[in-house]
Assembly symmetry: C2
Homo-oligomer: 216 residues x 2
């Protein structure tokens, strides 16, 4: 993939529409906000668009003007969610030791997986329609993970002989079967398991600094 053009990193659609009336932008934001909330709450169920409009305090007509189809709305929410996830990594990295930041971030990833359920059907449609969307977001997530992982490895609190793709494969178990009631708890345990594995045999890890056997 070649270098991107000058514009900021991702989030192009968010600010391109040059002149948008202030009220229009306000309503649009309210809608996205409400939609994110609703999708997160009602896992799996295709939420009612009228409900989203209602919660946003906006008429249904306004929703349809901004987002002609359900998929348009889902796409924006999805992008936003992924970008928030990426931005959260920076904040976490600034406020915590690198291994703690990594751990916290993976927990956020669990929450994000839950949100995704509310958009499941529409996301499936989008896969056929808009492959680029998924290429973008998947790239962003994996890049973020890599960033955190390398920082922690550099600090010596996490082993350095694994790469981010492996770690991602390991945690991707959280995306499966997110229907069961104890799913969240199980996912958090999975994350902690992985963190232990990452700290093990790291030079200065708190979980058993340097004393683990080198895993082949």
């Amino acid at each position: 993939m070649a270098e991107r053009p000058a514009r900021e990193k991702g989030r192009a659609a968010e600010e391109l529409p040059r002149q948008m009336r202030a009220d229009a932008r306000r309503n649009r934001d309210k809608l996205v906000e409400a939609a994110a909330r609703v999708f997160a709450e009602q896992g799996g169920v295709d939420a009612s668009l009228e409900d989203i409009a209602r919660r946003a305090g906006v008429g249904i007509g306004t929703l349809y003007r901004h987002f002609p189809t359900r998929e348009h709305l889902v796409e924006v929410v999805y992008r936003r969610e992924v970008e928030a996830l990426s931005r959260a990594a920076d904040a976490l990295a600034a406020a915590n030791p690198p291994d703690v930041a990594l751990n916290e971030w993976m927990l956020r990833l669990v929450d994000y997986a839950a949100t995704k359920r509310g958009m499941a059907n529409s996301l499936r449609v989008l896969q056929d329609t808009n492959a680029a969307l998924f290429a973008d977001t998947a790239g962003l997530v994996s890049a973020t993970l890599r960033r955190l992982l390398e920082a922690a490895a550099a600090a010596g609190t996490v082993r350095s002989d694994v790469d981010s793709a492996d770690v991602f494969r390991a945690i991707s178990g959280i995306f499966s079967a997110p229907g069961t009631p104890d799913w969240r708890e199980r996912s958090r345990r999975l994350v902690s398991l992985i963190m232990d594995g990452l700290r093990w045999s790291a030079p200065g890890g708190e979980g058993g600094g340097g004393k683990g056997p080198r895993v082949t």
Copy 2:
């Protein structure tokens, strides 16, 4: 595939429900009839179930009692259509010379293809749900075609060096892109083209009996 049990050939679901109240069966039949009509008319569009109930002269509740989902209804109509197609072959064979019967039957197949459009979406769902349905019907259609073809070959009005699978592949062009306005005309031309090909170089074909070159 092993021999079937004693019951008549196909159409099991049609008469199994031992005691069905007469009015219930009447309404069921009316619904299937109306549905077939509506599916045939409104190609591609998922027809309104309320419209079907209306045309059948029954309440919407009655429709839903007999057919809990749209797919249930589509399945019954689809089966009925295919079986009618097979039965028509017998009638045509009894009333016409074998090659004429074959020709007429392929034209019926064109009409049937048109009907199928009205059920397109639901059929797609059924493919994931009920693979057996398609195995049955595909088998029935191909068996019918073989029957007609062999009779015509035996009578010497159609060449005998092609098998039914090839012929089916040839006419299956009619199932593609049935959206264009001249689709029907084009399909009929396709059928006539194939018939000419089949009559060509047949011992006693009327289209040029026996004088064609042997096609490799």
